[in-house]
Amino acid sequence: MTETEQRAGTRPIRVLIGKPGLDGHDRGAKIVARALRDAGMEVIYTGLHQTPEEIVEAALQEDVDVVGLSILSGAHLTLVPAVIDLLQAQNMGDVVVVVGGIIPEEDAEELKKLGVKAVFGPGTETDEIVRFTRASVGRA
């Protein structure tokens, strides 16, 4: 890091990737975690079977910019609103929330109304996820 960067106090984007609920599909979450790391971000991976409470507590303690939820179980309409409510309750409404996995189109619209910034389905290029994450946080 150069002196100038140091003075500007730049820090990498911090992202928490969580798998809420009983969903055991973790390939997508791991691929996205690695892609974001390779793009220079600090990625906290929580592992499987997290409750919304655990995810939000981890996001708070890790002071992340982004919370990414990976859900392929179909339970997104209960899990995602729970996470968003808990974030709000902790005064963390400024944290960017994104969701990936198997999410039907109409549900994706519903989640966006609740405050989810983007929903990424199967086949999404990781480059697109990296670009979106940078743009939504406003840092490299």
Partner: protein, 308 residues
């Protein structure tokens, strides 16, 4: 209310934000540290180190459970390497943590380069957790090289974790890790060869320099929570021995010296660099060194003499 005051009142969000500050720019946190410093230094800082995958995080989690049950207030710092190429990091130690809600405060720290930055951020991160009220801090780092030993210098009790067999323990001993361990844990003792590894370790420790505290070698299966209570007991015993040690005051003085020296070096460098940058001398001198017209030490001398 200042961030420091909020931390002292037990605000978790304030603690999290202050940790971000000490990680990103040590100086941004100078005033916070100044505010909370009188409320730091208590309790026990336990370093847990060892090769990748030996079970450090699992052990840290089980120890956290043990100490919570014993009425301690537990904080965890888990350090993982940043990629030297991209600066990114995958911080995966939380995967091993059982949900303990907000009872345990855990923070994952990336090394962010090797310029001593982490060595500077670590004592501050510990101080913030202590100011917040934590009196048992578990500090996990991957055992690899000198920065490791630096970070472990901030722990009161250092646990070195190894696993049976494969000779990788021998490598760990070579790396000088034998000297920094106050407690040795042979984890995954469900695997063959645990007894032999324990024997070898004990022998090597007996060969080492005489110390008032002979490091115990304990076996564990962190995953199954076997042997964890004994490790917690050993930590508390080591802590008592340490506190009654007549050299304790001297050690505190050494620690203080290191912290003040670091801060001094830091402030002086920043002062000289920012003033040289302001009057344009910085880039001139860098160019002279790059073109071999001036040596680096000579350049440094010129820069700070010019400013006196």
């Amino acid at each position: 209310m200042s961030l420091g005051q909020e931390i002292l009142r037990g605000d978790r969000r304030a603690l999290a934000r202050a940790l971000t500050l000490v990680e990103s720019d040590p100086h941004a946190a100078d005033d916070i540290i100044a505010e909370v410093y009188p409320h730091t230094g208590h309790g026990i800082v336990v370093g847990v180190t060892g090769a990748p995958g030996v079970g450090k995080s699992t052990l840290v989690d089980r120890l956290a459970g043990q100490f919570l049950a014993r009425g301690r207030k537990v904080g965890i710092l888990a350090v993982d390497p940043s990629s030297p190429f991209t600066g990114g990091a995958l911080l995966g130690d939380r995967v091993r943590m059982e949900g303990r809600g907000s009872d345990v405060f855990m923070r994952s720290l990336a090394t962010r380069g090797h310029l001593g930055g982490l060595a500077r951020a670590t004592p501050r991160a510990i101080q913030l957790l202590q100011a917040f009220g934590k009196d048992l801090i578990l500090l996990e780092t991957v055992g690899a090289g000198q920065s490791e030993v630096d970070i472990m210098g901030f722990a009161d009790t250092t646990i070195v974790v190894v696993v049976p067999g494969l000779g990788d323990d021998v490598q760990a001993f070579k790396a000088g890790i034998l000297e920094i361990g106050d407690i040795f844990v042979v984890n995954k003792s469900d695997r063959p060869g645990a007894d032999q590894t324990m024997r070898e370790l004990r022998q090597m420790l007996h060969l080492g320099p005489q110390r008032t505290w002979l490091p115990p070698v304990l076996s564990a299966q962190a995953q199954q929570e076997i042997g964890v209570a004994e490790i917690a007991d050993a930590i508390l015993r080591h802590s008592e021995v340490r506190l009654t040690d007549p050299e304790q005051r001297q050690r505190r003085m050494q620690e203080a010296e290191r912290l003040v020296r670091d801060a001094l070096a830091d402030q002086l460098v920043r002062g000289v660099v920012s003033r040289s940058q302001a009057d344009g001398r910085w880039n001139e001198v860098l160019a002279e060194v790059a073109e071999r017209r001036l040596d680096p030490a000579g350049a440094a001398r010129a820069l700070h003499l010019e400013q006196d």
